[in-house]
Subunit: 389 residues, 2 copies
Amino acid sequence: MKINGNFQNMEKNYLFAEVAARSAAYAKAHPEKKLLRMGIGDVSGPLPAAVVKAMKDACDEMATKEDFRGYGPYEGYDFLREAISGYYASLGVTVDVSEIYVNDGAKSDAGNIGDLFDRDNLCLIPDPVYPVYVDSNLMAGRPVEYLRACPENGFLPLPQMDTKADLIYICSPNNPTGAVYDREGLKAWVDFANRRGALILFDAAYEAFISDPALPRSIYEIDGARTCAVEMCTLSKLAGFTGVRCGYTVFPKELERGGEQLGALWLRRQSTKFNGVSYPVQRGAAAAFSKEGLAQAMAGIAYYKENAAIMAETIGSFTRYWGGANSPYIWLECPGKRKSWEYFDYLLNEKQIVATPGAGFGPGGEGFLRLTAFGDREDVLEAMDRIAR
Amino acid sequence: MKINGNFQNMEKNYLFAEVAARSAAYAKAHPEKKLLRMGIGDVSGPLPAAVVKAMKDACDEMATKEDFRGYGPYEGYDFLREAISGYYASLGVTVDVSEIYVNDGAKSDAGNIGDLFDRDNLCLIPDPVYPVYVDSNLMAGRPVEYLRACPENGFLPLPQMDTKADLIYICSPNNPTGAVYDREGLKAWVDFANRRGALILFDAAYEAFISDPALPRSIYEIDGARTCAVEMCTLSKLAGFTGVRCGYTVFPKELERGGEQLGALWLRRQSTKFNGVSYPVQRGAAAAFSKEGLAQAMAGIAYYKENAAIMAETIGSFTRYWGGANSPYIWLECPGKRKSWEYFDYLLNEKQIVATPGAGFGPGGEGFLRLTAFGDREDVLEAMDRIAR
């Protein structure tokens, strides 16, 4: 029996597992110090009340023989797919119910979608970026090419004359840099992909943070995207679902490769390796898209955006940064030309602030650091006070 | 961009999707007829009250800033892993908390575990069997060899002198045949695997249906299993979690291949492609293993076992069958030497009973049919009455 040797090409630990381990070690050694956690992109707020009510009602249904539900549809219940389709409509984007596939979070789909693709496809992945795109492709043995994001291109690289790619990962608003493509930028990628027959895997996890109407919240706002792009999204950041687990992926009907409709292929994959999302969770997710639920969710987003603005002001006083508007992330240049993990350790040991080292997002992240705006206001204010001192 | 060509080696539709499509077409054409569903192995009973209460309490926690929980541990919360470890202890089996990895259902892990293995491993898979083992390996491009299960070996094949295998799938109690290995049978497989360095992937999804103390409920009851076997289990059948989604996989600490601890490799896979199970679901699962929850769950199991006994009596009066005791499945020989899909269509069209054609579980299932005992008592009695007529 041979194990998958590709695991040796990956970092030993998943980035956030390493951050958690270092901060846990510090906390254990210094139980008297208060750690301020601005590392992992996890929300701190409670669930919207409408979501909690819907989930509890669904639990009650499951307690009776009449209303009990067993296995659900692999692609998700229509009541939720309709709610998601309605959310898209509110953004001015048409996505049919049949094009929506519900999942237990965007990370699962971002990782598992590779099952649909041949091992020889060349993956073009921004650097720095959310580690799942690189790790899941290394695990599958696919060649990965980095697309350099840097201050010179505003962390928003565009296709060049000599760019080669079969699978293109785009995350906008970007994790970790907070940079957001405008319509012209995404249009350049869509045209490139359609010309080459490449596929864009568009991660829209942070779309709800966009308030600038000049910036697209879905790749389907761009002409031509329906023949070249899959869009992945989640309720994790929109409605605080990091511990509840629900997201969705869109495969437009027109999206075909090798004579196969990718959505049909995905359904075949999901029906083989997945059994759908928990029924109470799907009810909660549908409630998040209701008028009441969405108002509660957007109040949470506004709170985090205000955090980001506060952070941006302090950080901008001593170094360069990106993001902080239309994004929950602030991406800053480590002062004094320090390396990422060095500055991470400095903030942990001297300021008791947990950040995420930029180098963990790829070689292009070296010398940068990510801070998240998902904390309590009080903690954000204290952290900025500690940093400013 | 090239799609994964291995999809062409799989059946176009997942078996149960095809069964659902045919019965839906019949129901649409004959809205006045009452269909009795004994096809998909889905439970019909409500959730145990203790589970519902725990889930609702967890939802309430998520509604407050103080008790809110975001991302959980990739391997599951310790409160649930401890409950599972305690359940093993009640079976007389020692499984440490650190060896337990919580998931959203055994199907996900049975499908995704292939990520750990090289593509060249030879998979030995019983025929007939639950389609996920074959489909997920075909999707990955792994060679599959069938292990013939038939009336002559009681649907419990044993390793032979010339048996070759790297990955061995065993499901006991078996889906679909209901056959259960005794200790000697499993010992033969464990010894074989240890001798060859092969790995057993043991699916214990139906262990709670075993009431005969002579039959093992976990492969870890067998000496030597800890160095050659992964065990996958689920709450779907134990506590009616088909729509709630929670299961677990055990990687013993001693289980190593190629110098790597498989549990560590699995955690690396999960942390890359999975973000844990919904918190309220994990609370519900832990409650299912409480004294009160387990008593409620076992009352449900007893109800289904009584169904199986009723079915076995009728079916035994006109054909040979296997299972029906220590299992929720009855595996019957189609009367009159009919083919599986032919008898399936006969039962659907003439008796309005939805079964599962044996041929859907592999070529060795041709000429057989699976019935499940998960229905309402009233429906079971009516179905047996219709069949007997």
